[in-house]
Each structure stands twice: as structure tokens, then as C-alpha cells.
């Protein structure tokens, strides 16, 4: 199915740390937009997983953050930056099963150490940059077929 994008589309969502009530709001909005554009179901599925996880990380760990998306004929790029504690050891954080989430977050079924690996698995390009005490930036690109 051809993708109905005659011009590039971009936008962003604010994400408030600790706001579990609205968790999933940004990624749901983006998913609806992609559906409306007629983007391939599998691409939507991957984008949904990757953005939901990124959004949850901001909510769980940071004071606030922003998710910016940019849709072109080639694909969708997503940048999530936050004002959070930063990640000390990115290599460790990327390992499946490693998490620094507090117990109460784990009791909710989050903090299983799957977030960053899920983001990486579902994107074609994944970049992460973090400064302890400042925040974390994640960039993901998902190619259209």
C-alpha cells in the first residue's frame, strides 16, 4: 500500500515524569496518526512498541521529557529526550533483564529490563546518549518498507 505522505510531517509531545495516569498517551497519538496515513501495520506495530517503551522510561525515571517525531517518505524518526538522572553504564542498561527501577515500579510489571532492548529490537537505527545528572536522549529510525 502506498504511503500517503506528500509532505514531511513532524510534531512533538510533552511527557511528564511520574504521570502514570497518562502513560501511553504520546505513543497512542502517534499510532493513530500513522494509521491515518496508511502506514504499513508492521511498521505501526514496531513504532508503537518502541515509542511506548521510551515514553514509559521518561515517566518512570525522569522529571519530564519530550517525544519528537518526523515522518518522511523514507520512514519515521523519533527523538525522545528527558530531564532525568541519566544512565551511568549504557552497556549494562542495554542488557535484557537489567533495570534500576524501584520495587514499586516493578510491582506494576514495569522495570523488567526490557524497555531499551525492546526499543532497539523494533527500530532500524537506535542511538542512545546519556549524561549522568542531566538526562538521556534516544533516537530511533524505522524505515518504511
Amino acid at each position: 500500500m502506498p504511503i500517503n505522505i506528500d509532505k514531511e510531517i513532524e510534531g512533538s509531545f510533552q511527557i511528564i515524569g511520574g504521570n502514570f495516569v497518562n502513560a501511553g498517551e504520546a505513543s497512542t497519538q502517534l499510532k493513530l496518526l500513522l494509521s491515518k496515513l496508511g502506514v504499513d501495520e508492521e511498521i505501526i506495530r514496531r513504532t508503537a512498541i518502541a515509542t511506548f517503551e521510551a515514553e514509559m522510561n521518561v515517566i518512570i525515571y525522569a522529571a519530564a521529557g519530550r517525544m519528537h517525531y518526523h515522518i518522511t517518505q523514507q520512514g519515521i524518526s523519533i527523538k525522545v529526550d528527558d530531564m532525568g538522572p541519566g544512565i551511568e553504564d549504557i552497556g549494562l542498561a542495554m542488557q535484557e533483564g537489567y533495570s534500576t527501577a524501584p520495587d514499586w515500579v516493578r510491582e506494576m510489571g514495569w522495570g523488567a529490563g526490557m524497555g531499551l532492548p525492546n526499543m532497539k529490537k523494533n527500530s532500524d537505527i537506535f542511538k542512545i546518549d546519556s549524561v549522568v545528572g542531566e538526562g538521556t536522549t534516544i533516537e530511533m529510525f524505522i524505515n518504511f518498507p
Binding site: K31, F52, E53, A112, N118
Partner: protein, 113 residues
């Protein structure tokens, strides 16, 4: 098979969005880790879990799941129910533990072939 076909079998109590009972289900996914459900469940699955907090609604919505069955006699709190009604997610509860609920659904879906 529809969600409504399991109501008697699992002693389900319908908590939210009754309309969803008529939805066709394609499978079942059992997990209490939300990232696991995000990654591995499929659209049309029924999700069996003991989690009751309101993020289960967001996950079910994102993955277009057919419904959520909360096991072990746990009940979803008011904020979860409100969000589920708003987002048209069917939440059911059963007194059965996850093993039994999943086992009964597996049998029934398998019989149907």
C-alpha cells in the same frame, strides 16, 4: 470464538465495556510484565494477568487486545475501570489463578481447532 464463549467456563465477571464480549478472539497471552506484553502479544489476544493498575488499559489499547482477564479474584480499581470504559477495553475478573484460566482457554481454543 468470542469472549462471551468463556464467561461460564472461567466464571468471568464483566467489569468494563460489555460490548467487547462479542469480539472475536484470536489467541491468549499470559504475562504480568507489561513490556513483555507490549513486545509479544498479538492483536486480538486476550490478556491474562494479575496486574490491575491503569497502565494495563494503555497496553491493551496499544496492542489492540481483545480484552483483559484479571485472575485470582483481584479487582481493578476505580481509575482503571474508568479508563477502560473510556477506551473501550473489556476487563473481566475470575476467581481462578492464571494457570487454570489459561488452561481452560487453551482447551477450548484447541478443541475448536
Amino acid at each position: 470464538m468470542k469472549l462471551s464463549d468463556f464467561v461460564g467456563e472461567l466464571s468471568l465477571e464483566i467489569n468494563t465495556c460489555k460490548d467487547g464480549l462479542q469480539r472475536e478472539i484470536t489467541g491468549v497471552y499470559v504475562s504480568d510484565l507489561l513490556s513483555d506484553v507490549m513486545a509479544n502479544s498479538k492483536a486480538g489476544d486476550v490478556w491474562i494477568t494479575l496486574q490491575t493498575h491503569l497502565n494495563i488499559v494503555a497496553v491493551a489499547g496499544m496492542k489492540d487486545l481483545a480484552g483483559i482477564i484479571i485472575v485470582g479474584g483481584r479487582k481493578p480499581p476505580e481509575d482503571t475501570r474508568q479508563k477502560a470504559e473510556a477506551e473501550k477495553i473489556t476487563i473481566m475478573t475470575t476467581p481462578m489463578p492464571a494457570f487454570e484460566a489459561a488452561g481452560r482457554m487453551y482447551q477450548k481454543l484447541k478443541q475448536q481447532g
